[in-house]
Amino acid sequence: MRDVQPGSPLPTLASGIPGLDHVTGGGLPQGEVTLLAGTTGTGKSVMAAQFLVSGVTDAAQAGVFVTTEERPEKIRRVLGTLGWDVRAWEAQGRWAFVDASAGAHPETVLGDELDLSPLITRIGRAVERIGAKRVVIDSLSHLFARLGDRPSVRAELHRLIGSLEDLDVTAIVTVERDHEYDGVGRFGVEEFVADNILILRNVFENERRRRTIEPLKFRGTPHRCGEFPFVILADRGVAIVALSELQLAYSAPEERLSFSNPGIDAMLGGGPLRGSAILVSGPTGTGKSLLGLEFLAGAGEGERGLLVNFEESGEQVARNARHWGYDLDALQSAGRLRVMCQYPESTPIANHLVAIQHALDEFRPTRVVVDSLSAVERGASPRAFFEFLLGLSTLLKAHSTTGLFTTTTQSLLGGPSATGVEASTLLDTIVLLRYVEVYGELRKGIAVLKMRGSNHERIIREFIITDHGADIGEPFRTTTGILAGTPLELIGPEKERVEALFTGSPSRTGPDHLEMDLTTPAEGWRNP
C-alpha cells in the first residue's frame, strides 16, 4: 500500500471509460489495484480491456493484458469487433499480452507449495519492456481455480497483486462472482484486493436486462453509492450512464422560446422558458406529435432541433409532417434538424439515453422533442424508466436545451393525472390535450396544467388540427369537467362559480397534480 501524506487527496488516473470516473469519485486510484467483480457476461473483460485501450488512445500510456482464460488471439479478435486494433498496438510497443492461459493439454497441479514467481516475473518483464503504466489481469478467479485452493495459492496471489503495486502501474483485476447480490467474489478472492472494488451486475427485471455498476469501496476517495446503469455499445465498449454527472447548479435562464404557433406561446405566458422540460400529455390522436413539430418549427436563426421518435419510422414521421406543411427532409439537409427513430424494445433503455447523449454532444441541438415517453415506458421497469427520464432531463438542462416530451394517457377522455407523481417533479411545464364531447361532436381541448417560473393561462381552449398545423381556438367557457374526462355544459348561475375553478384559485389546484373534482354534477347542470 502506498504512503499517503495525511490530508492530501489520493492521486487518481482517468479511466477513460465514459462515466466511470464520476461514479468512483474521480478516476481509478493511481498506482493501485482495483477489483472488478461480476457474474458471467457482465462485461468485466470488455471494461478491463477498455481501460487499457483508453490508456493507449487517450493518455499515451502503454498497457499489459494478462489473460488467464482466453488465448490472446481470441482477445484480439473480440476487441477487434469493438473497433480496437490491438495487433497494431502490439507492433508499436504500446500493448503486450502475458499469456497465462492453460493449453488444451491435461494439466495436474500437485503439492501444497506453489511458487508463482515465473508469472510475476513475466508480468514485470512485459511492463518494463513497453514501459506500461496500466495492467489488467483477466481473471484472477480463473487462475485461482486452475491452481486449486491450496494454502500457498492465496499467499502467492496476494504476492502477485502486491507485485503490481511495486511496478508503479494502475491495475484492474477481474474476479468472478456467482450471485448478483451476495458477497463479492467466488472463493472469497476479494480479500486480496480489499481497497477498491467495483461490482458489475446484469440483472433480469421486467423481462429486460439491466446492467449496473456499483462502486463498493474506494479507499480514500468519496465515491458515489449505489448502482449505476451502464451500456455496452457495439462500436465503443462500455459507457456508464451517470445520471447526475453534470453539475446540477446550472442557471435557470429567463429567455423564452417560441412555438411556430403564437397561440400556444400566449398560453405559456409568452413562450416556454429556455432549458425547461415540457410534457404534452393526452390520449391518442389529440395532436401531441403535432405540438412537438410546432415546437421544433418555432426554432429561430442558429437553432437546431432534434426529434427522437420511438413510435414511428422516419418515413412515417416525414409523411405526417408533410401533411401539416412541414418539410422535415429539407430541414435535415439544411442541418437544422436531426431525426432519430428508435425501436424502444430493441435495446435496453439505458442505450437509448446514451444514444441521445451522443446526439446532444455531436449535433448540439437547442430543442429536443421525444415522441413518446410512453413507448419508452412500455419497455422498461418503473425504475429504469425513471432513471431514463432523470438522465434525459439532467442532460438537457446541463446543455440548456429545451425539451418537449409526449406521453399518451390511457383513457380517451383523459383523466386527472398527467403522469406519475415521481416523474412530474422532473417536468417544468405540463400541457394537457383532451377530447371534449360537445353536442355529439368530438372536439379537442388544450390547457396548461402547470408552468414553473412563469405565469400561464388557466383557460382550457379549443385545440383544432388543420391542414396547416394547430389552431388555438376559443376557451370552453361553458363546459366543465374536460380535464376530468367528463365534460358537462353549464347553464345558469353555476357557470360563474365553476369558471372560478378554472381560473386558478390556489386552494383548489396544486402545481404538480390536478385535484379538481368535477365528476359529480350539481343541480342546474346538464350534459351537453
Binding site: L110, G111, L114, S117, L119
Partner: protein, 105 residues
C-alpha cells in the same frame, strides 16, 4: 530421439535447494519408469525468460511432456512419484516386458 520417444522439459526457479530437489525427483522417476532412456531439458526461468514466456510458464517447477503426444503438464511439487508418474503418463513400475495392458498412459 530415444527408442521410447519420451522427452520432457523442466522449468525451475534458480539454483535453490528446492529446484535442485525437483530436478532430482524428476530424474529419478524417469530413470525408474523409462529404463530405455528419455530426454530432459532443464531450464532456469531466470536465465531463459523468453522460453518461459513461450511455454506460458506460471509456476515452478513445471514439467512439460513434449513427446510422445499428447502433451501433458505437471505444476508444483514433484515429490509424489506415483502421482507425477500418473500425471505424466509414464509406464507403471515393474511392468513385465511385452505386456502393455497395464499401461497408465
Amino acid at each position: 530421439m530415444t527408442v521410447t520417444g519420451y522427452s520432457f522439459r523442466l522449468y525451475l526457479a534458480g539454483g535453490t535447494a528446492r529446484a535442485m530437489q525437483a530436478e532430482a525427483q524428476l530424474r529419478h522417476l524417469c530413470e525408474t519408469r523409462l529404463p530405455e532412456g528419455f530426454e530432459l531439458e532443464v531450464l532456469d526461468v531466470t536465465d531463459h525468460p523468453d522460453r518461459a514466456e513461450e511455454d506460458r510458464v506460471l509456476v515452478t517447477p513445471t514439467v512439460i511432456r513434449l513427446s510422445p503426444p499428447p502433451a501433458r503438464r505437471v505444476l508444483g511439487s514433484l515429490s509424489d512419484e506415483h502421482r507425477v508418474g500418473l500425471a505424466l503418463g509414464l509406464p507403471a513400475v515393474e511392468e513385465p516386458p511385452g505386456d502393455r495392458s497395464r499401461d497408465h498412459a
